[in-house]
């Protein structure tokens, strides 16, 4: 595996997926997939629609149980753990279609994300003890800091669902950051965005990486992947297609064929006309 | 032995009421996905309508019975169109329909209470068939025969309708997915209205016959049938007509036997204990299909 510049080859990967498989009835979503993500890197996950990328993210984050294989996070096996356990161990995620909590303001969404640092027992909250109130205020402060980071401080008291799509995505990222994760899974974070918004997301991801966060990004935008990812894994039909640097993967003939079709097919189509 | 057989037949008769009511309630639950708290009041009002036909209009049983049944059906259509149709258009979930049905339960049951003067009324003797048949040494009131026969006829008819007719297929399609059904050439509005009518009429039939045999025409009649019919639907399997019928009759027999041989205080207990057990352990019931969940 090619390491990000500056890190040593010797350290074990933060995320180690080994021969993971998932079937839905007769449909194989993911099959014999192995990949690794180095600490402190930005990893890309590519592949045509239906390749199984989101399923893989769901398996890693614990939304779905896997059928076979292992997933190791910082050396600990997590493929059988429930999602909330995995979250408190340090993996956070966003969703392909933004899933914010209906009826809650932007600030409240992020405060919900800070659940893991709630800092007070139920009895303390129940009785309204000063310790509980202080903890709540601390959570609010931290949430505001996170909003600052994604540049949404002005919208803190607005209903999250009234924001633009790009802004909602950033709320979701801020919410995910609330869990103080070590690994952030982003599922198509720039879907539906224009060039400027996409670049903003890319810059955000880089600043997060510089702050010590490891990121795994499912991304279709080839330009973004080339510019912001240290390492790429390509999937197709639930299987591993290629892995390496962005340039290597994009130039890979199998990857090209998967996205654009191959020359033999192109000639057959031409012949039909 | 004779006592046992007599109670067995009693149980069948009561169970037939539960079964018939359950069939109506179950149709709405299984095909329209609605838990209708007001369904019992259709039965109460059907009984009240039949009683009024007999007492006020001096009509014979053979006319009063269908009047009650039709009243039940029409009331069901009315409630469906006022209460559930707006929700359907909005795409609401189960809670919304349940609460709205509770609103109608409040309205209809209280109106029924006012209609019967807060009392439990009885059908006057002679207004219904009172012949006493005999099965060997066992007395067999005509009403019991009629009730059991009605249950059998209704069960078979509904089964044929739902499983073996085009309308039945349309019903199931609409229950599954209204838009898809419409795309397939079904008129969902018509299907829903007719389904509601059938459901109300069936429960109405249970109400009239129940009101006569239990000598209890009041809003309590409907409430009692609702709870027992609901149990029959769950225990039998809510998407299988035969299951509901068998469970209803079975529960009736169990209740009568429990009351006779154990204690009358435990009579309802056996039904509700079975209901809870099935909900916890086997929600699809004895004959229901697995993996069928109402969104």
């Amino acid at each position: 595996m090619t390491p990000a510049s500056g890190s040593t080859v010797a350290s074990p990967p933060l995320l180690d997926v080994a021969a993971i498989a998932k079937h839905f009835g007769g449909v194989t979503a993911v099959s014999d997939l192995s990949m690794q993500v180095r600490t402190g890197s930005v990893a890309g996950l590519m592949g045509p629609n239906g390749a199984g990328k989101t399923t893989l993210v769901n398996l890693i984050s614990g939304l779905l149980p896997s059928d076979s294989g292992t997933i190791r996070f910082a050396g600990v096996e997590i493929q059988r753990s429930p999602a909330y356990d995995i979250a408190s161990q340090g993996i956070a995620r966003t969703y392909q279609n933004v899933r914010l909590f209906s009826g809650m303001t932007v600030l409240e969404q992020v405060m919900a994300g800070c659940y893991v640092r709630r800092g007070a027992s139920l009895w303390a909250s129940f009785l309204g003890l000063p310790k509980a109130r202080a903890a709540y205020k601390a959570v609010e402060r931290h949430a505001r800091e996170l909003l600052e980071r994604v540049q949404l401080s002005a919208q803190a008291n607005l209903l999250a669902e009234t924001l633009s799509y790009g802004e909602q995505r950033r709320v979701e990222i801020a919410r995910a950051l609330g869990t103080s994760p070590r690994l952030l899974l982003l599922d198509e974070p720039t879907a539906g965005m224009n060039v400027q918004e996409s670049n903003e997301i890319g810059n955000l991801v880089h600043s997060l990486r510089d702050g010590g966060l490891t990121v795994l990004m499912v991304e279709h935008n080839v330009r973004l992947v080339k510019e912001f990812c240290d390492h790429v894994t390509v999937m197709n039909f639930g299987r591993l297609l290629a892995t390496g640097t962005p340039a290597e993967c994009i130039a890979h003939p199998d990857v090209q064929a998967a996205y654009f079709g191959n020359t033999a097919d192109a000639e057959r189509i031409r012949a039909l006309r | 032995m004779e006592l046992f057989l007599e109670q067995l037949i009693n149980g069948c008769a009561i169970g037939s009421l539960y079964a018939m009511f359950g069939l109506g309630f179950g149709i709405v639950f299984a095909t329209l996905g609605i838990l209708n708290a007001a369904h019992g009041s259709y039965a109460s009002w059907a009984a009240i309508a039949a009683l009024a036909a007999v007492e006020q209009l001096k009509l014979p049983f053979i006319v009063a019975l269908p009047i009650g049944v039709v009243a039940g059906g029409m009331l069901a259509v009315l409630v469906d169109q006022i209460a559930f149709q707006p929700l359907r258009r909005r795409g609401s979930e189960m809670l919304g329909a349940l609460i709205t049905s509770i609103a109608f339960w409040i309205i209809l049951d209280n109106l029924a209470g006012t209609a019967t003067g807060q009392q439990s009324l009885s059908f006057p003797r002679g207004s219904y068939p009172g012949t006493m048949f005999r099965l060997g040494d066992i007395p067999l009131p005509a009403m019991q025969v009629i009730t059991i026969a009605a249950m059998l006829i209704v069960t078979v008819s509904l089964h044929l309708l739902i499983r073996h007719s085009r309308f039945g297929a349309a019903m199931r399609a609409v229950g599954w997915n209204q838009t898809a059904a419409a795309l397939g050439g079904v008129n969902p509005r018509h299907v829903v209205i007719i389904t509601a009518f059938i459901a109300g009429a069936t429960s109405g039939l249970a109400g009239v016959l129940g009101g006569i045999t239990t000598q209890n025409v009041s809003f309590l009649l409907g409430e009692g049938l609702l709870l027992k019919g609901f149990a029959a639907v769950v225990v039998g399997g809510y998407d299988d007509v035969r299951g509901t019928a068998i469970a209803g009759v079975g529960l009736g027999i169990l209740e009568v036997m429990t009351s006779q041989y154990l204690s009358s205080g435990l009579r309802d207990g056996i039904t509700y204990a079975l209901l809870l057990s099935f909900l916890l352990l086997r929600p699809r019931g004895l004959f229901g299909s697995a993996g069928f969940s109402r969104a």
């Binding site: 909590f101 209906s102 659940y115 | 209460a83 349940l98 109106l111």
Partner: protein, 301 residues
């Protein structure tokens, strides 16, 4: 002065019932706010009511001292119910809670040593109205405190989207179990208060009636905020009394009609935080637009 005294005496019991109903509504709200529809409040109330009443009769102690026992009994029962019910899918859980109420009545009839069986239980002990009011104020304080705590936010997250809540570290079943216990404590307490207000308990005291009207009250008042539960309970209790003056014999129907109107026109209930926020945002936007327009008129950038 005499008229005022008469007026107060006449409506004292209405206020007392409204407070008791508020407890039942809060108990229903407690689980609904974590995404669970459950009618089991009635069972907790029966537990608190009969256990509390029996303790008062047996021990002769001041009922105030035994209120915590009623709440505790309800909470314990709710915890057991949670263990069994939280394994079920939400629809089946709602129906199972309905079945639970039905069985409760059967149990009540069949343990006359505790409940007086079919004949009921007489409780010649009273609780002054101001005590009821103070207890409600305490309950309100608790619900307020919980709503501005991590538990409040976590509950809303679990209610809106349990899968996403799980992915930010919230364990839905844990939150829901806590919600059940709160519901049990409040319901049990309400049950004992009802016993003290009615001063007589029968098997029909804690039955389907309460279950249906309480969920209806919560939805009417607004199922997204604890204030909604209290307002809904107040409306449901006061409305028939007011309606009696206008349309006697049909006063109970008024509740059904109001509920129907709310379900058709205001399905999220009278108090809807989301609608309030949307309106606030709209005002903010139009205020911004007005400011912007004013700047253009004045020639400012």
């Amino acid at each position: 002065m005499q008229a005022l005294g008469d007026f107060w005496r006449a409506y004292q019991s209405t206020v007392a019932f409204a407070i008791v109903n508020a407890f039942f509504a809060l108990s229903t709200y407690a689980v609904l706010s974590a995404g669970i529809l459950s009618f089991a409040t009635v069972t907790y109330a029966a537990m608190g009511g009969f256990v509390g009443a029996r303790l008062v009769l047996q021990s002769g102690l001041d009922p105030m001292l035994l209120l915590p026992a009623a709440a505790g009994a309800g909470a314990l029962l709710a915890y057991i119910v949670a263990l069994i019910f939280l394994r079920l899918e939400s629809h089946w859980m709602a129906l199972a809670s309905l079945a639970l109420i039905l069985i409760t009545r059967v149990v009540v009839i069949n343990v006359p040593s505790v409940t007086g069986g079919v004949n009921g239980l007489s409780l010649p002990v009273k609780l002054p109205l101001f005590v009821l009011a103070i207890l409600l104020a305490v309950a309100i304080a608790v619900f307020y405190r919980l709503s501005v705590s991590w538990f409040g936010i976590a509950s809303r997250a679990v209610r809106e989207d349990p899968a996403v809540a799980s992915s930010i570290g919230i364990a839905p079943r844990r939150i829901q179990t806590i919600a059940f216990v709160i519901s049990g404590a409040v319901g049990g307490l309400g049950g004992m208060l009802l016993a003290l207000v009615l001063q007589f308990l029968s098997p029909d005291t804690y039955f389907v009636n309460i279950a249906f009207t309480m969920i209806a009250a919560v939805v009417l008042g607004g199922s997204y905020h604890w204030i909604g539960a209290i307002i809904g309970a107040a409306v449901f209790t006061a409305l028939p009394v007011i309606a009696q003056a206008i349309v006697p014999h049909f006063q109970e129907v008024a509740n059904g009609i109001v509920l129907l109107l709310i379900m058709i026109f205001l399905p999220r209930g009278l108090i809807d935080p989301r609608a309030i926020r949307l309106r606030r945002a709209a005002h903010g936007a139009s205020a911004d637009a007005a400011r912007g327009a004013a700047r253009i008129v004045e020639g400012k950038p």
